[in-house]
């Protein structure tokens, strides 16, 4: 019954997501949090495939800004998805831009991210891209 022992509950996935976001705010991305064939697409990052590429992209994106903070407003999960509603704060060229971001994540039974999709509210995205 190995599968039963390793399968994570939605609440466990929520806790993992909360820790991953806290770590990301410190500039840390744990490669073991991603499946080897992980895929990520998002408003600020073109589609990237594979664990190494995803981790590299996640580390690189915040480096483009003076500050890049993702504060979870709520994290929800079921057996298939984790959804994080995020208050995003970005500082670029002295300007602070705040808005809402949604991260939708598919995980496997071990809680590793297999697919991640990040959307930023379009008005916020325009201000970030124009900054």
């Amino acid at each position: 019954m190995a599968e039963a022992r390793t399968k994570l509950t939605p609440q466990q996935k929520i806790e993992m997501a909360r820790k991953a976001l806290a770590d990301a705010n410190q500039g840390n991305v744990n490669p073991e949090g991603f499946a080897p064939d992980a895929v990520m697409r998002g408003s600020l990052i073109p589609e990237v495939r594979g664990r190494a590429a995803v981790v590299a992209a996640l580390k690189k994106a915040p480096a483009n800004f003076e500050e890049f903070r993702q504060e979870p407003h709520a994290i929800l999960a079921d057996n298939d998805h984790v959804v994080a509603l995020i208050n995003l704060k970005v500082k670029s060229r002295g300007r602070t831009i705040e808005g809402q971001q949604v991260l939708v994540v598919h995980t496997n039974d071990q809680g590793q991210i297999t697919e991640m999709w990040g959307m930023i509210e379009p008005e916020t995205l325009k201000r970030i891209q124009g900054s």
Binding site: Q100, P122, E123
Partner: protein
């Protein structure tokens, strides 16, 4: 303990959202607005018809533009996730405009109160895709 008696389960809150989508899809705007509180707010800054619309009349006026300006709108649930405060619907959508079909992935976020009414809703979509369709 009226409050305890009316508190909804997560499945019941999800059903409120499913019912709202079903009403929209069959064009029953009265049934749709019946799922809302009187002070419902539609946050559509993440949509092609952007803005924040406060009150039922303003919200339904904004939402009614979708079937007026887009054709053959399809909204297929990929998943609906809920907790005590939020219901989040992940939706694969498509619509036609001037004979072309556009596909999009949309996140809808709802606050559903314990009386089964939605007080606020947000939409985040790939607005550029939809705007390009509208302007084409």
């Amino acid at each position: 303990m009226a409050e305890a008696g009316t508190k909804l389960s997560l499945d019941q809150k999800i059903q409120v959202v499913r019912d709202a989508f079903a009403a929209f899809e069959r064009g029953d705007m009265k049934a749709l607005t019946n799922t809302w509180t009187d002070d419902f707010v539609w946050h559509a800054r993440g949509s092609v018809f952007g803005g924040d619309f406060k009150g039922k009349d303003a919200a339904i006026g904004a939402i009614a533009r979708y079937p007026q300006e887009l054709e053959d709108i399809k909204l297929d649930f990929h998943d609906i996730v809920a907790n005590d405060k939020h219901v989040v619907a992940l939706v694969n959508s498509s619509f036609k405009r001037n004979g072309k079909t556009y596909q999009d992935q949309i996140v809808y976020i709802f606050h559903v109160n314990d009386r089964g009414k939605t007080s606020e809703a947000w939409i985040i979509a790939d607005t550029e895709l939809a705007k390009n369709a509208i302007q084409s």
